[in-house]
């Protein structure tokens, strides 16, 4: 096996990201990493999946390459492609190939958004072969021990098209994320925004109220991330109602009635 080349400096996380442990996810990740198992993060948007990945990358001292998947993401976007430069074709590695070569952590965010054919390159990487075929180069890349593949998806989507196939999901060690429990969420908001307890408690109550509305007009309740946004605005000196309207109600939905209802909830709290 080739020894990993020095990875790009920019992908190293040098400062410890702020992350609050919820359960045993750090230990599980550690163990899976040590055994070369790929990892699947499940959970609603804004509950800390990406932050967790940053934290783990920092903890394991490996470079982190994050790819946000979209519905036009093709295999070449991940593996790499030939480009034409000055009359010559040159090969450029895609993010996944770079991560494999560098022995880094490749995090494919919202994997279900990507095209179905991208799974083809992920599958051999995600089982015990840990190999990556680069068809156009005719190479078969063996992933080094340090390499780690992590993907995330949000099971809350109701679309039938956005489900992970069994053949894919059964290759991964799954970690489930949800909005943290109230006390922990309060701690996170206080840490991230510097707000006092009373204001944090109100934000949390607002979150609870919007989560009550999930399925009754809202697709999702306010995520921890939205609360942090609102909190930061408030800490900046913005009026609390205006801050929450901007960071929570308008961010959650476009439906006028729903915005009005969430605004009324905000007005009832602040």
């Amino acid at each position: 096996m080739d020894s990993p080349r020095p990875p790009a400096e920019s992908h190293f996380i040098t400062q410890e990201p702020y992350y609050e442990r919820v359960g045993t996810e750090v230990e599980l990740f550690d163990a899976a990493y040590a055994n070369g198992l790929p990892i699947l993060l499940k959970g609603p948007t804004g509950c800390g999946k990406t932050r967790f990945m940053e934290y783990m990358a920092w903890r394991l001292k490996r470079p982190l390459i994050t790819v946000s998947c979209h519905d036009d993401l093709t295999t070449s976007d991940l593996v790499g492609r030939y480009l034409v430069k000055g009359g010559e074709t040159i090969w450029v590695d895609g993010p996944l190939t770079r991560a494999v070569r560098a022995g880094g952590i490749c995090y494919l965010d919202e994997i279900v958004e990507a095209r179905k054919d991208t799974m083809v390159v992920i599958h051999p990487l995600a089982d015990d072969r840990r190999m990556m075929p680069i068809e156009k180069l005719g190479q078969l890349l063996q992933a080094p021990r340090e390499f780690c593949l992590a993907i995330s998806y949000n099971p809350g989507y109701q679309s039938v098209l956005k489900e992970l196939k069994q053949s894919t999901r059964q290759r991964f060690v799954a970690l489930s994320f949800d909005y943290p429990k109230a006390e922990l969420e309060a701690k996170i908001i206080r840490h991230e925004t510097g707000l006092d307890e009373a204001a944090t408690a109100k934000l949390l109550k607002l979150a609870e109220m919007t989560r009550n509305l999930k399925g009754n007009g809202l697709e999702e309740g306010a995520s921890t991330r939205l609360l942090v946004h609102a909190g930061k605005l408030i800490a900046q000196g913005i009026d609390a109602r205006a801050a929450c309207e901007g960071a929570v109600s308008l961010a959650l939905t476009d439906d006028d009635d729903m915005i009005a209802a969430v605004n009324e909830l905000i007005a009832a709290l602040f």
């Binding site: 070449s76 009359g87 609870e208 009550n212 509305l213 109602r241 209802a261 709290l269």
Partner: protein
């Protein structure tokens, strides 16, 4: 623009006579003309406009309106007059001529309420926002209804139709919100848990005890609200001050302080009842809702019994699932013997259940039940956490029954379980609220061999269609000479290099890109099943549907087929032939065979309902295709003619606004006259020969979607 001169007496008389059909009704218009003549043209037009709009509903109502509007003109502004006119027509729609005339006769009543209508918060307008607000406040799922006065029966919150206790519109909305929050607090903080009969029986004057308790409880809830919803509480205080509510007398202030010790429990208020009994109750705050012990008790008793059963049954299911799980190491023999005993602990807003020392995350419905039970009982009684044994309860007692649409017509008439839709009255330029009663009905299957017969008959065509649609299915293609792409386009590169060698500029379009189109499409077919399709039109429709299904199955588009018919606005019917979920199987084929002509075509309601169903489907493009043989029409009704066309047009407009593309395939030769107006110029197609329908429809669909 120059101001037009006022209409002369003769012109006025002509318009009024036409509106009132004077030839037959003998209404006198002379004195009306006298009053209208001196007015400005603008005002004349305003009044005449409404006179004609109301006359389209009922001439008598319009005549009475005219007689009074001229008197009221200087006292009412136009917004109020409009509200008055619409209210009179709505009353006519829902309750008939006499109540409508009463609305007009009691113009002074209306004037007294004019403020309410100008600045009041209307239930219909605030309902959506406040229902969502209420849902956000947590606790038991509560329903918002309109009623005589604000009160709650612990499951529904009632708000009056118009709330106008305050001066301005904004304050009136705030008042509604405060009342909703107050009623929510009554359910949330245990006021509804109180056993009123027992508590008040001990007092010489139970009615007085009730009002004292209400005052005490109101104070207690205010403390709770101040704590829970500080923003709203501030607004409530402002409201109360603006309304001029009297300050709390000193003895009551002392009681309020005593209540503050433990405001979240209703027992705190009950404990002070004896002390407060001799005092005069303080005046009610404007946002306080009345307490109706009778209504609450009835609801609560029924609910407590039902939920006890439901909870225990659900827990039994949960226990079964849990024990089937191989990880739970319980010897099954032991488990079968005694019913599972759960323990429940509140965890923030949710619940945590423990069975045999193992934690179980309760599903959402169990969570809801536990919360509801807690609100009624104040705790979760342990016996309710024992899973129900097999057959302990009759499912009929706790399951919510879905009404059979056919039963509705047996016995007395009612609108339960049906969908209500508004209808556009073009003469009135307003919707008639809840005008159409629509039901979904399963179509009775027809002959099972029918579809195979059709396929055999059109064998060649079917084969051709399948091939055409197959070609459409695979739309992925390689795009060459792209500026960006997955791979280098060697041909383009060679050319570019040659160009560069010649000293010309090199193209940057050197890549190939695999282009894939995802057909994210859902299509709903709405088939005319009116009586006029009897015979070969019906045959052609059915055959066309078979061709379509065969093609669409090849293509893989999601599609649904519904038939529509009905008779009068009270019986609009939608027949389920194939829903989006149902496969194209023998049962569906039999239903297609079973399409038989029924009654009439009230299209507006059908379009509104099907557009709603279609909007529930997740697809980028949504098509609503109507197969029809003629104009909208209904039994002995105004729906024939302009009214029906205008309502259908309005319904299609609503559908388009919600993101549905309507399209119409018709065999009516005169369709040119009205279809472009209803569907727009490019959104319809006329098939001149019925026999060609099966041949054409699939082809039209192909053109539509590529």
């Amino acid at each position: 623009m120059a101001i037009s001169p006022p209409l002369g007496r003769e012109a006025l008389a002509r318009r009024l006579e036409a509106a009132f059909d004077v030839e037959f009704t003998f209404h006198k218009v002379d004195h009306l003309v006298e009053i209208l003549a001196p007015l400005e043209r603008d005002t004349q037009d305003f009044i005449l406009g409404w006179v004609e709009r109301i006359a389209s509903t009922n001439i008598q109502v319009s005549y009475e309106f005219t007689r009074r509007v001229v008197e009221a003109l200087d006292r009412l502004d136009r917004r109020v007059i409009e509200a008055w006119a619409v209210h009179a027509m709505d009353t006519y729609d829902s309750r008939g001529l006499r109540p409508a005339l009463e609305v007009l006769f009691k113009v002074d009543d209306f004037l007294a309420h004019a403020h309410a209508h100008a600045a009041g918060a209307f239930f219909d307008e605030v309902k959506t926002v406040l229902a969502n607000f209420l849902c956000g406040l947590s606790g038991r799922r509560l329903e918002l209804k309109s009623g005589e006065q604000p009160y709650t029966d612990s499951e529904k919150l009632f708000l009056p139709n118009v709330t106008a206790g305050m001066e301005s519109e904004a304050d009136n909305f705030l008042l509604c919100k405060a009342q909703v929050a107050f009623m929510w607090a009554q359910t949330r903080f245990g006021s509804c848990r109180t056993d009123f009969d027992t508590v008040f029986a001990g007092f010489a004057d139970p009615a007085r005890a009730l009002s004292i308790f209400q005052a005490l409880d109101g104070l207690r809830l205010e403390i709770c609200l101040a704590h829970e919803l500080p923003g709203l509480w501030r607004d409530m205080q402002t409201l109360s001050a603006r309304h001029g509510d009297a300050a709390l007398p000193p003895p009551w202030q002392a009681l309020a302080q005593a209540l503050a010790a433990r405001p979240e429990a209703p027992e705190t208020a009950l404990a002070l009842l004896n002390d407060a009994y001799p005092l005069d109750p303080p005046a009610c705050r404007i946002y306080q809702a009345a307490l109706h012990p009778q209504a609450i008790a009835e609801m609560r008793n029924a609910r407590m019994a039902r939920e006890k059963m439901l909870l225990r049954v659900k827990l039994a299911q949960l226990a079964e699932e849990h024990r089937e799980n191989p990880e739970a190491q319980i010897p099954p023999a032991d488990a079968a013997k005694k019913p599972a005993q759960f323990e429940a602990r509140q965890e923030g807003q949710g619940w945590e259940l423990t069975l045999d020392d193992q934690p179980i995350a309760p599903p959402v419905d169990v969570n809801q039940l536990l919360t509801s039970v807690l609100l009624d009982w104040g705790e979760i009684p342990p016996e309710m956490l024992t899973a129900a044994g097999d057959g302990e309860y009759d499912p009929a007692l706790y399951e919510e029954k879905e009404k059979n649409p056919d039963d509705v017509w047996q016995g007395t008439y009612h609108e339960e379980g049906a969908h209500l839709y508004p209808e556009w009255d073009h003469a009135r330029q307003h919707y008639r609220k809840n005008w159409c009663v629509l039901r979904e009905i399963d179509l009775k299957p027809g002959a099972s061999g029918y579809v195979d017969g059709v396929i055999e008959k059109y064998q060649g065509l079917v084969k051709h269609l399948r091939r055409t649609f197959e070609a459409m299915r695979d739309e992925s293609r390689l795009l060459k000479r792209q500026a960006q792409g997955d791979d280098v386009d060697i041909d383009a590169l060679v050319e570019a290099l040659a160009d560069a060698g010649d000293g010309r500029e090199m193209s940057d379009q050197l890549f190939m890109h695999m282009h894939r189109t995802d057909r994210s499409l859902a299509v709903m077919f709405m088939v005319d099943m009116s009586g006029s399709t009897r015979g070969w039109i019906n045959d052609a429709e059915r055959e066309a549907l078979v061709m379509l299904c065969e093609s669409l199955e090849t293509l893989g588009d999601r599609y649904a087929i519904y038939g529509f018919s009905g008779q009068t606005r009270k019986r609009c019917e939608i027949y389920r032939i194939k829903t989006f979920e149902q496969p194209y199987d023998a049962a569906t084929k039999a239903r297609i065979a079973g399409i038989v002509p029924q009654d009439y075509t009230r299209m507006g309601a059908a379009i509104r309902h099907l557009a709603k169903l279609l909007n529930g489907v997740d697809a980028k493009t949504k098509l609503l295709i109507t197969l029809s043989d003629g104009k909208p029409d209904d039994y002995f009704d105004v729906y024939r003619g302009a009214y029906g066309i205008e309502d259908t047009r309005q319904a299609l407009f609503e559908a388009r606004r919600s993101g549905v593309h309507p399209f119409c395939i018709t065999i009516d030769r005169e369709a040119k006259e009205y279809l472009p107006y209803m569907y727009g110029h490019a959104n319809w197609v006329e098939i001149d020969d019925v026999k060609k329908l099966p041949l054409k429809v699939a082809d039209i669909y192909r053109r539509l979607t590529t």
